[in-house]
């Protein structure tokens, strides 16, 4: 990619992910503020499953939601993605993040405008119009603009950070070695996950006591499912030995790995879960599978077919050095051919 192409990736990302949501939010908030004398007090700010209003409040609460959804969310996306783009990282994921920020900005602006505009001239917000047309219009506009933002941004060939090969390790002839380490999510995240599971289970108990058996079962099921999903993806035992690299969840599944014969390169690189994989956990992006439990240094192993396995584990440089040394040893003493 040429230097100008590189520049336009960043500038167009800034346009779709930052300028567009900011301009739309400012416009939407500006309009609803000029309508404030035509609106019922309080106005409807929440609508039930049937589409009719069931929550009422001040115009300020609508503006607050518009600011969070239309400004803060795109800003968060930009704040995690832009530094990586500026440092030269490229990939379809970054392009998607730009589109997502644009779409969220549009969703917020259209929803704010429509849901307030439809209440202009009402004496009382109770029994006001249904919110469905506003929802359909805002989601439709969000998807349309999101797709447009995708095509407005230039194509990005995935440029993955070069692997760093810091440490080296020499294995003498006949020497054996194993490297083992447990990779886990950071404690605050683990506590948050536990709190969600406990809150859902507690909620189930409350519903059970008030006689809402169906809701209780749904919450209990969700709680159990999340407990299973969290325990399968928060702790991995990572091992490097003569067989290669393996990462096994504390639950026993999933198991991931690269056999030594299949390994082309091993090194260390910085990884940002949100920007590169769209989140944390066991994650996939084109050309790479990741056990992404945190941001920061990661062990990255490239297979012979070019695909990569990425694991965020401490002391990754020792693991990479050992993998390299083991591969070198295996290559210098090939099995006796028949």
């Amino acid at each position: 990619m040429t230097e100008t192409g590189q520049q336009s990736v960043v500038s167009r990302f800034v346009i779709v992910a930052m300028a567009l949501p900011a301009a739309l939010t400012a416009t939407a908030v500006g309009f609803v503020m000029t309508w404030r004398d035509d609106l019922p007090r309080p106005i409807a700010i929440h609508w039930g499953a049937s589409g009719s209003p069931d929550g009422y409040g001040s115009l300020a609460s609508i503006v607050a939601v518009a600011l969070v959804l239309g400004l803060a969310v795109p800003a968060l996306i930009a704040a995690t993605t832009l530094p990586l783009l500026r440092s030269g990282a490229r990939g379809p994921n970054f392009r998607f993040m730009g589109s997502l920020a644009a779409g969220v900005g549009v969703l917020s602006a259209v929803l704010t405008l429509w849901s307030v505009a439809m209440q202009r001239g009402l004496a009382d917000a109770h029994g006001g119009p249904t919110v469905f047309p506003a929802l359909v219009a805002s989601f439709g506009a969000a998807v349309t603009v999101g797709v447009a933002a995708w095509f407005f941004q230039p194509h990005q060939h995935a440029v993955v950070d070069g692997l760093q090969h810091g440490a080296t390790l020499e294995l003498r002839e006949g020497e054996r070695a194993v490297w083992m380490r447990t990779a886990t999510t950071r404690r605050p995240i683990a506590i948050l996950m536990a709190a969600v599971v406990i809150a859902l289970a507690g909620g189930s108990l409350v519903f059970w006591q008030v006689g809402e058996a169906t809701a209780a079962w749904v919450l209990l099921g969700t709680s159990a499912f999340l407990l299973l999903a969290f325990s399968a993806t928060t702790t991995f035992h990572v091992r490097v030995d003569e067989d290669g690299l393996s990462a096994v969840s504390a639950l026993g599944l999933p198991r991931l790995g690269v056999a030594l014969e299949d390994m082309a390169d091993a090194g260390v690189a910085h990884v940002n879960g949100f920007a590169e994989f769209g989140g944390w956990g066991v994650r996939q992006r084109p050309g790479a599978l990741g056990v992404i439990l945190r941001n920061g240094p990661s062990l990255q192993v490239t297979r012979r077919n070019g695909k990569r396995l990425i694991i965020t584990v401490d002391d990754a440089s020792t693991a990479a050095a050992l993998l390299t040394a083991l591969a070198r040893g295996a290559a210098s003493s090939p099995p006796v051919s028949p």
């Binding site: 003498r172 006949g174 054996r176 070695a177 194993v178 083992m180 030995d241 003569e242 050992l322």
Partner: protein, 120 residues
């Protein structure tokens, strides 16, 4: 945690395993509260007997560096954290010995004998 061993060495394998783990503790790669991998996993990866690895863990327990509790496995004790205070001095001493042409084994023997003979 990196464990290296040389089966052709005269040093018993369990001592080599224990020494590797001790080095990881001194280098701060294993910290108080960390759990050592199960002896079964280590023995499978290194291709050595399970009892050899267990013997290494027991040696570390006798030194007070790990705590072995039923059902919890081997956990690194706070005493192991104190080893990190030595690493800078050891590296310094090693560099000095190397500059003087003294081999690591000879240096280790010197340290052992001089420490054993008590303060001057």
């Amino acid at each position: 945690m990196l464990i290296r061993l040389d089966v052709s060495s005269a040093v018993p394998i369990f001592e080599q395993v224990a020494a590797s783990i001790r080095t990881d503790m001194a280098a701060g790669q294993l910290n108080p509260g960390d759990k050592l991998p199960s002896a079964r996993d280590v023995s499978a990866s290194l291709g050595v007997n399970l009892h050899t690895v267990l013997r290494a863990y027991q040696a570390l327990r006798d030194e007070g560096l790990v705590d072995m509790r039923r059902g919890r496995g081997a956990v690194v004790t706070p005493a192991a954290g104190a080893l990190t205070d030595l690493i800078a001095d050891i590296r310094h001493l090693g560099a000095k010995a190397s500059a003087l042409g003294i081999a690591p084994d000879a240096l280790a023997a010197l340290v052992r004998d001089i420490v054993a003979s008590g303060p001057e």
